[in-house]
């Protein structure tokens, strides 16, 4: 088992190293064969591991000692249980499909081998993250995926906007990592370990302890740890207010948006909190905090999804919003639902991104929804699969999204922690918005009249515009179909074992007083009953209403859409500027930091320290020496005068004595 896991993790790394260092000297096909087969094998092995785990096999073992501090060992080691096995299967599955898709998408790119090296490295880091049995290794993977994301967002490195976006992503994540690191350090300082199993068994020791960041403030230790860890999750999983990097990350190639910024990396925060459920369950404050943050993210980002015109940005805001749903689920202590939504979301969101990518290459890198339209007949496979993805994202039965999203909303109803009502309202409204922006996108891209022949102002790809768009090659469409299948069926097939069965076993822990999961189980009477029951829930009708509104505003009566836009124009600045989050970070934080740096460099460093410690003393010495120099005139009578004066002074002094 251990060898198997090692193989799963190291195969992508080996492929990445080879493609990265020798890729330019190898034929192009060698890079993709190498990386695809490595990740493909990892996928097959991960499925095998998942099956084994389902039969009760577990692994919690160190591979080697990274650092032995005497009283504590920091190790690299694996914890394979249903949670990590599931994540490994999802990660390798999506990654493999994205690898295959990349063969088509990046066909003409000069950085072909480099791209494969990066995504294989990403897969390695992500697998390290999810298979960790301790915080050290998790942090290793955590920052590793951050590095991969940074490199891939800035993949087209001659674009300034891409470099900026990469830097922004890294820095925002670092703010999160700051919290994550503090959380780990607090755990280490009190329990002297970073191993999950030991932390879980000894977490009760922390009850009643407090910690003080400043004299006079006392925080409950567990709450401080949980919030610090959650700050890490907020960075990685792009929760308000650390979310601004995710829309900008769309500067990277589309396969990356699917793999990293939708299906896997951004869910690392969700995974981490679920993994830490035995810790988070001890702090109601942290859980409430998560509910509030998640619900806010879900609703605010759904609103922004409505007003985007870039097809990738629509999906990016949708990802943010869905991550908000998952975070709420974590806060409600329905971890299995959060993970279930994570899984289904990985399928349908990767599907939507890859479908969008298929459209984008067909239209020669056109991403503006206003310049699409009518692609339904030209790209049937892309259209059907995208429609399946949209249906699943909107949470309509019987596709996957319905089975994972509906329970979150219901759990918000049943929960008791502060904030659950707010979450219930936000998430329910979110369903309407989700359906609305998703189908707005579908309608604008695939329905109506083609708008892509219209001359595009600043677009330099006009040369290509003469080629009519056509359906993408099989390397692109086959991954779409393979993702469409679980997007349809994953809900029906897995909802019973994952939510109400014992798939997760003891990998997740829920305290008895957090009853949302129990309430959900109490209302569960089989899939059929669940489907009919949903007819009575507001979410389904809101979703249908969302689709209807989207249809009315984009296809039936576009003028109404324009009129609506005019109606909201007084506050449209709020939407156009993403609620001014970006402006705040750029104008206040980034510029503030630079101005502070400039001021320190000029006044303290230059005038203050250099002046006081170097220039002032040297000037003083120079001045002193010039004074002394004038005393040494060299004239005999000056010295004689001084001698006489001195003698007089001496005598007077003696006389007075």
């Amino acid at each position: 088992m251990k060898t198997l896991v090692l193989l799963i993790i190291l195969l992508p790394l080996a492929a990445s190293v080879i493609a990265g260092f020798w890729g330019r000297r190898l034929p192009r096909a060698a890079s993709h064969w190498l990386c695809c087969s490595a990740v493909g094998t990892a996928m097959a092995l991960s499925f095998y591991v998942l099956l084994q785990v389902n039969h009760g096999v577990r692994l919690d073992e160190a591979v080697y000692t990274w650092l032995d501090l005497g009283f504590a060992k920091l190790t690299i080691g694996f914890l394979i249980d249903p949670l990590s096995a599931l994540m490994m299967a999802v990660v390798t599955f999506v990654s493999f499909l994205v690898h295959v898709y990349t063969i088509g998408y990046m066909r003409d790119d000069p950085g072909y081998a480099r791209f494969f090296a990066y995504i294989s490295f990403f897969t390695f880091a992500m697998l390290m993250l999810v298979s960790a049995n301790n915080f050290l290794q998790m942090f290793f993977g955590w920052e590793g995926v951050g590095l991969a994301s940074y490199l891939l967002i800035g993949f087209w490195y001659t674009r300034d906007s891409a470099n900026k976006a990469g830097m922004k992503a890294f820095l925002m994540n670092r703010v999160g990592d700051f919290g994550f690191m503090i959380g780990i350090a607090l755990l280490f300082a009190t329990l002297q370990t970073t191993d999950f199993s030991e932390i879980f068994t000894r977490i009760e020791e922390l009850r009643g302890l407090t910690v003080s960041p400043l004299p006079g403030y006392e925080w409950p230790l567990i709450t401080a740890i949980c919030i610090a860890l959650f700050v890490g999750a907020m960075g990685k999983s792009a929760q308000v207010p650390l979310h601004v990097w995710l829309p900008d990350s769309m500067e990277g190639p589309t396969p990356i948006s699917a793999l990293i910024h939708a299906a896997t990396m951004v869910t690392a925060g969700i995974f981490m909190v679920a993994r830490m459920s035995p810790v988070f369950e001890w702090s109601d404050t942290a859980l409430s905090f998560m509910i509030m943050i998640g619900a806010t993210t879900a609703i605010l980002m759904a609103i922004l999804g409505l007003v985007q015109n870039d097809i990738k940005r629509v999906i990016a805001y949708s990802t943010l919003s869905q991550l908000g749903y998952m975070t709420v689920a974590l806060g409600l202590s329905v971890y299995s639902v959060a993970l279930f939504h994570l899984m289904t979301h990985a399928f349908f969101k990767a599907l939507l991104f890859l479908a969008a990518g298929s459209v984008i290459i067909a239209l020669h890198h056109q991403q503006d929804l206003r310049k699409m339209g009518g692609l339904r007949k030209i790209m049937p496979v892309t259209y059907i699969t995208a429609l399946i993805g949209a249906w699943a994202l909107a949470g309509l039965p019987p596709f996957a999204g319905f089975f994972s999203k509906e329970p979150i909303i219901e759990a918000a109803k049943y929960a008791t922690l502060p904030g659950h009502t707010y979450a219930y309202i936000a998430l329910t409204l979110g369903v309407f918005l989700t359906a609305c922006y998703t189908f707005r996108m579908i309608f604008l891209a695939f329905h109506g009249k083609p708008r892509f022949d219209a001359p595009h102002g600043d677009d330099h790809h006009d040369v290509h515009a003469h080629h009519a768009p056509k359906e993408s090659p099989w390397v692109v469409t086959v991954p779409l179909i393979l993702l469409a299948i679980p997007s349809m069926l994953a809900g029906i097939v897995f909802v019973r074992p994952m939510l109400f069965g014992d798939f997760f076993g003891d990998a997740l822990y829920v305290a008895a007083e957090h009853g949302a999961m129990a309430a959900l189980a109490g209302h569960w009477h089989g899939i059929g009953a669940y489907l009919t029951h949903s007819l009575a829930s507001p979410a389904l009708w809101l979703a249908l209403a969302g689709i209807a509104v989207a249809w009315f505003l984009t296809l039936r009566c576009p003028k109404a859409g324009v009129a609506l836009e005019r109606m909201v124009s007084p506050i449209s600045g709020l939407f156009a500027n993403n609620f001014y989050f970006d402006a705040f970070y750029e104008k206040v934080i980034a510029r503030g930091a630079r101005s502070l740096g400039d001021c320190l460099a000029r006044f303290i460093e230059g005038a203050g320290i250099d002046g006081l410690l170097f220039r002032l003393p040297t000037q003083a010495i120079r001045f002193g020496s010039s004074v002394l120099r004038t005393l040494q005139t060299g004239y005999l009578y000056h010295y004689a005068l001084a001698m006489v004066l001195g003698l007089l002074l001496l005598i007077t002094g003696w006389g007075m004595h």
Partner: protein
């Protein structure tokens, strides 16, 4: 301890010095290749010699090993006493590696007088790290100044004279206080042996005075805020090779461990809060100042001294985790600063400018340098898997254990260092080639690539598996902590 008869600490010290003198004596165009060859061989030999010492080092004891003792000035009890423990071992290793890389991979080596200065510096550095006698230590510590001062003043940039003067005056000024402290210790103990001083009882006033004496010298050398004013000028004006050697010789920080902490522990306990405050100021203040830099090498210099703030923080938290972290960070910072100064040097060699704005998009012309630059940037911001992470992780662990507030302030380094480093990378490495000069730059030469790849590998290995380094230093660190914990009143 059984060692090959010819590999001794004296050999490490005197072989490069003699080679340096020879190189200087042979200067003149006719002997260029001989002296270059000699320098290469000697610096490579040193790497093997140190590797040999590491292999024969016994990590199980904190005692000094490979000791040599000869009376030097018997009337004052001054001895030529050498020895290494698990702490100094790594700094000798660092010195050997960096000297080797500087000598084989830098272009300035064509100048033989300069080459001689580097060799002599290297030999004296071994001396300072192995001396067990106060006077001997002081002699090496001060003598190191001279070749570096000459290298900066003669072969530096346009403002080299001011920079060299500043460097010399600051370090000399600080060292005088240390000299007083050494004499003070002699007066009390009647001995110049550092090992005797470690067990010497001292009253509180004396300890405080000694603390101040040592602190003045070491805070300048390390450097600590606010006695760092020499560092940015020196690092921006000096010739690359000398700067790499100067920045990777962590003798100031090392002397905290060898002299200040174990000799005056009670004063240390009393004054630690002030030292922690100075360290935190260094971490945050230098980070912001680095953000404002427009000069490539000044930015690297501020980054390096900001990380030295983490090191001194690790010292004065006075717990085992932070102390080990500080040691790792010293090694890692030496490597990272050396690597980044090398990269800056490779760029300056090609275009001649040190201004960041004169570079943009070097990835287009120099893929090798760009790749390595990004790697070193990641090591500089302590990405896990690089050596930088080990130290920062442990120091932050130690800081949080000490006090959450201090931990929070120390951990800001994660964000601030990432900000200035990535911004530098964005401005220098990525983007379209800024001008035709950049587009035509040749990628790293084999010798340059060799040096940087070795550095990258060392940082990677240390990051992935730091345990072997820790194993050899563990006993000595434990001994040091025991000394600090014991009162000397």
């Amino acid at each position: 301890m059984e060692t090959a008869s010819w590999i001794s600490l004296s050999f490490l010290i005197w072989c490069p010095i003699v080679a340096g003198i020879l190189v200087y004596a042979l200067r003149g165009s006719a002997n260029g290749s001989i002296s270059r060859c000699l320098a290469n061989i000697v610096s490579a030999l040193m790497v093997f010699a140190v590797a040999y010492l590491i292999c024969h080092f016994d990590g199980g004891t904190s005692a000094f090993q490979f000791q040599e003792r000869v009376a030097w000035i018997p009337s004052f009890g001054i001895e030529y006493a050498l020895g290494v423990d698990g702490i100094s071992l790594w700094f000798i290793a660092l010195n050997a590696l960096i000297t080797f890389l500087v000598i084989v991979s830098r272009k300035e080596k064509t100048n033989q007088a300069y080459l001689a200065a580097l060799l002599v510096t290297s030999g004296l550095t071994y001396g300072a790290f192995t001396a067990l006698d106060g006077v001997l230590f002081y002699v090496f510590f001060e003598a190191m100044l001279i070749p570096i001062y000459l290298a900066i003043g003669v072969w530096g940039g346009p403002n080299r004279k001011l920079a060299a003067t500043k460097f010399f005056l600051f370090t000399l000024f600080g060292s005088l206080f240390m000299l007083l402290a050494l004499f003070g210790l002699y007066k009390v103990s009647g001995s110049f042996s550092i090992k005797d001083w470690h067990v010497l009882p001292l009253n509180m006033n004396m300890q405080t005075l000694l603390f101040i004496g040592f602190f003045m010298a070491l805070a300048v050398k390390t450097p600590m805020w606010p006695l760092h004013a020499w560092a940015p000028d020196t690092y921006s004006e000096g010739p690359t090779g000398a700067i790499v050697m100067l920045s990777s010789t962590k003798i100031g920080a090392y002397a905290f461990l060898r002299l200040l902490l174990p000799i005056v522990p009670d004063a240390v306990h009393q004054l630690a809060p002030y030292m922690i405050a100075l360290s935190l100021i260094a971490i945050i203040y230098f980070g912001f100042v680095a953000l404002a830099q427009t000069d490539l090498r000044r930015l690297v210099a501020y980054s390096s001294i900001a990380h030295m703030g983490m090191v001194t923080l690790g010292f004065f938290l006075l717990n085992a985790v932070a102390m080990k972290g500080a040691l790792f960070l010293m090694i890692s910072n030496a490597l990272a600063a050396a690597a980044l100064f090398f990269c800056a040097g490779a760029l300056t060699d090609r275009i001649g400018s040190r201004r960041i704005m004169d570079y943009q998009g070097i990835v287009n012309a120099m893929p090798w340098l760009a790749t390595l630059f990004v790697f070193f940037a990641m090591a500089n911001i302590a990405l896990p898997g690089t050596s930088g992470f080990v130290g920062e992780l442990l120091v932050i662990f130690g800081a949080v254990e000490y006090h959450l507030g201090i931990g929070l302030l120390a951990a800001t380094v994660l964000v601030i260092a990432a900000a200035y480093t990535l911004w530098l990378v964005k401005r220098v490495v990525f983007g379209a080639a800024g001008n035709s000069q950049i587009a035509q730059m040749g990628d790293l030469l084999t010798r340059e690539r060799f040096g940087l790849v070795i550095l990258a590998l060392v940082m990677l290995i240390m990051g992935v598996w730091p345990q072997p380094v820790l194993v050899l230093m563990d006993a000595s660190v434990a001994d040091l902590l025991a000394h600090i914990a014991r009162t000397k009143l």
